[in-house]
């Protein structure tokens, strides 16, 4: 009788108090406030860094457009529509970056034309055809491609690809748009392969099984089910690869020939071009600070920054689409 009674007492009594004491309450509130503010500061620093870069570039670019000698509109028109870039001319400096923007587009688009089909096919192979072992070996190897310093790629472009293009294809110069594009495509490929492969693998095994069980072949399953389901991830892969190609500096500086011109005829990739990144990298070290030339380079930087920023937003958008459950 007594044992039964004490047992039931133990069952209803909580051994540790359920109410917070004042001390516990205070210390936990303080601690959580501290941690919160610390995390906020850390996060704010990285956000602030991005904002400060924007502010810095805009501040340095502004004098270029707001110079007293020419009106801002004239400057802007010249900047975007003239293909003559002679910033060092003593009497009549000219600041037209149309050819430079075109150069950036040339190498970016050409490198994507090479890297996207190759990269996507490789991603399809890795996600659906390769055995588990092959994938385990190939993926890290491909990711190592992304870790090679770009100057090494540049040396390869100048020492190997350029002579090869001259000797075997007969291009007048080995450092040209095609050379830079080839190297850029190799550099963009790891990003494209690995992001696209993730997107394809994220399409569940059960979805593939459903397709196979309905009598679809591997190719039909890939084309009709897996790729449509992974399309936003694949787009994100392409855009990330594009950002890599647009922002790359050292390789294009070494391999593109740096001639400020739009190839003519327009499809002739054997001609040299000059990109925005190479222009900034090549000239910023030489110009006296505070000159119009100096500020014009920041104006180019601003154009580049806005462009990559838009690409980044776009890829974020597609990655979000990939992640959110489809309704």
């Amino acid at each position: 009788m007594t044992t039964a009674g004490s047992q039931s007492d133990a069952a209803v009594q909580f051994t540790r108090p359920l109410r917070l004491t004042f001390r516990d309450d205070l210390s936990s509130t303080l601690l959580s406030w501290l941690v919160k503010s610390f995390l906020f500061v850390v996060t704010f620093c990285s956000v602030a860094a991005v904002l400060l870069i924007f502010v810095f570039v805009i501040r340095q670019a502004a004098p270029f457009f707001a110079e007293s000698r020419v009106s801002p509109l004239e400057r802007l028109t010249e900047f975007f529509t003239s293909r003559r870039w002679f910033p060092e001319h003593q009497a009549h400096p000219e600041y037209g970056i149309l050819a430079i923007i075109a150069g950036s587009f040339y190498v970016t688009i050409t490198s994507l034309l090479i890297a996207v089909p190759t990269g996507l096919l490789a991603a399809v192979f890795l996600s659906d055809i390769a055995s588990f072992r092959t994938r385990q070996i190939c993926k890290p190897l491909i990711e190592i491609l992304a870790a090679i310093p770009s100057v090494a790629y540049g040396v390869f472009a100048v020492m190997v690809v350029a002579p090869w293009l001259q000797k075997n294809i007969g291009f007048p110069t080995g450092t040209n748009a095609l050379n830079a594009s080839l190297i850029l495509s190799v550099m963009a490929m790891p990003t494209i392969i690995s992001v696209a492969e993730d997107a394809l693998s994220a399409v569940g095994r059960e979805i593939r099984e459903a397709s196979y069980a309905l009598g679809a072949t591997r190719a039909e399953t890939m084309l009709r089910i897996v790729i449509p389901a992974a399309h936003s991830g694949i787009l994100a892969a392409v855009i990330l690869g594009m950002m890599r190609a647009v922002g790359e500096t050292m390789v294009v500086w070494m391999a593109s020939g740096n001639a400020t011109q739009i190839p003519s005829p327009w499809w002739d990739l054997s001609q040299s071009v000059r990109t925005m990144t190479a222009t900034i990298a090549g000239e910023l070290g030489e110009v006296p600070q505070g000159t119009t030339h100096f500020h014009s380079l920041f104006a180019i930087g601003l154009v580049l920054l806005i462009f990559t920023f838009c690409l980044n937003l776009l890829s974020e958008h597609f990655i979000m689409q990939m992640k959110k459950p489809k309704r």
């Binding site: 055995s131 588990f132 569940g204 059960e206 979805i207 593939r208 099984e209 459903a210 397709s211 196979y212 069980a213 309905l214 009598g215 679809a216 072949t217 039909e220 009709r224 089910i225 449509p228 389901a229 459950p325 489809k326 309704r327």
Partner: protein
């Protein structure tokens, strides 16, 4: 009092529009003592299957994952037009055996099959098996509803389109018929272009069945089709199985013994990769021949 019970009945009818068709099966779905499938069917069902009625024949069939045994020496015949349930504890090879019938296990590397597994007289593990034709005629419904991220219409039309049917009118007819057969038409007919992923779990599973039916299969393999569904959706799938019986041969793997007893004509009990007992469902559940079967169905192990 009378009114309220009337109301309840009306509500039930609303929830299950095809109830009158299947009233005998839907009478009671409360968990409880094991109930038998339609008692009216009992006399026609023979313990042995006439040879010309055999649609799936398995003779000493074994399947290995590398060196691990999936199923071992399975010998059983499945009758055309019947519902056969496969029960057994987890990891006993039920699903493995089911997935051998349409060779879905091919997707797993390092597997090996031995013995005979024939569908319609053709050994499915023959080198010359046409997998596309096999899988079109031996459809499969999976444990987790797995509709494609496409519209309802495109989901059902996927199989026919693979077979080369392009005419819109023909596809429309197939889609409507299959959705009707899968008891989903009334719920989705207003918006067939809606994404299949917006449907509820039970609706998705019926869509997966409709998608399978669109291939005009002879056999439908169901791998625990109700394990991700609530009791009401489960009831609807079970009604559907009863309605499809006769036209199609259905093989269903289930963890739920009440379900096996409710829907199937014959039941096979698998344990540790072996077929322990196979026979008429009513006999197996009331008078099992083997001790293991009795232990399992009475819940003493597993």
């Amino acid at each position: 009092m009378l009114l309220s019970s009337d109301k309840i009945q009306k509500k039930q009818q609303l929830l299950r529009p095809n109830m009158e068709r299947l009233s005998s099966q839907t009478a009671d779905r409360q968990p409880g003592p094991i109930r038998l499938a339609d008692p009216n069917r009992k006399p026609e069902l023979q313990q042995t299957i006439r040879p010309e009625r055999v649609i799936i024949r398995s003779k000493d069939f074994s399947f290995y994952y590398g060196s691990k045994i999936g199923v071992e020496k399975i010998t059983m015949d499945i009758e055309a037009g019947s519902v056969t349930a496969i029960i057994g504890p987890s990891g006993c090879g039920k699903s493995t055996f089911l997935r051998c019938i349409n060779r879905m296990n091919d997707l797993i590397p390092n597997t090996r099959a031995e013995g005979l597994l024939a569908v319609g007289g053709q050994n499915v593990y023959d080198k010359n098996t046409n997998l596309v034709n096999l899988r079109q005629q031996v459809g499969m419904v999976f444990q987790k509803p797995n509709p494609f991220a496409k519209s309802i219409y495109d989901n059902v039309a996927y199989g026919p389109r693979l077979q080369g049917i392009r005419r819109r009118s023909e596809l429309d007819a197939i889609v409507e018929q299959c959705l009707r057969d899968a008891a989903l038409w009334e719920e989705v007919k207003d918006d067939l272009s809606k994404s299949a992923l917006a449907l509820s779990g039970g609706q998705q599973q019926r869509l997966c069945i409709a998608r399978t039916l669109a291939n005009k299969p002879k056999i439908i393999l169901m791998d625990e089709p109700c394990s991700a569904l609530d009791p009401l959706a489960t009831a609807r799938i079970e009604d559907l199985i009863a309605a499809l019986k006769g036209t199609y041969t259905i093989v269903i793997v289930t963890h739920n013994m009440q379900q096996a007893a409710r829907v199937s004509d014959r039941t096979a009990f698998f344990c540790l990769g072996k077929l322990i007992e196979y026979g008429r469902t009513d006999v197996l559940f009331t008078n099992p021949a083997k001790k293991e079967t009795e232990d399992y169905i009475t819940g003493r192990f597993g």
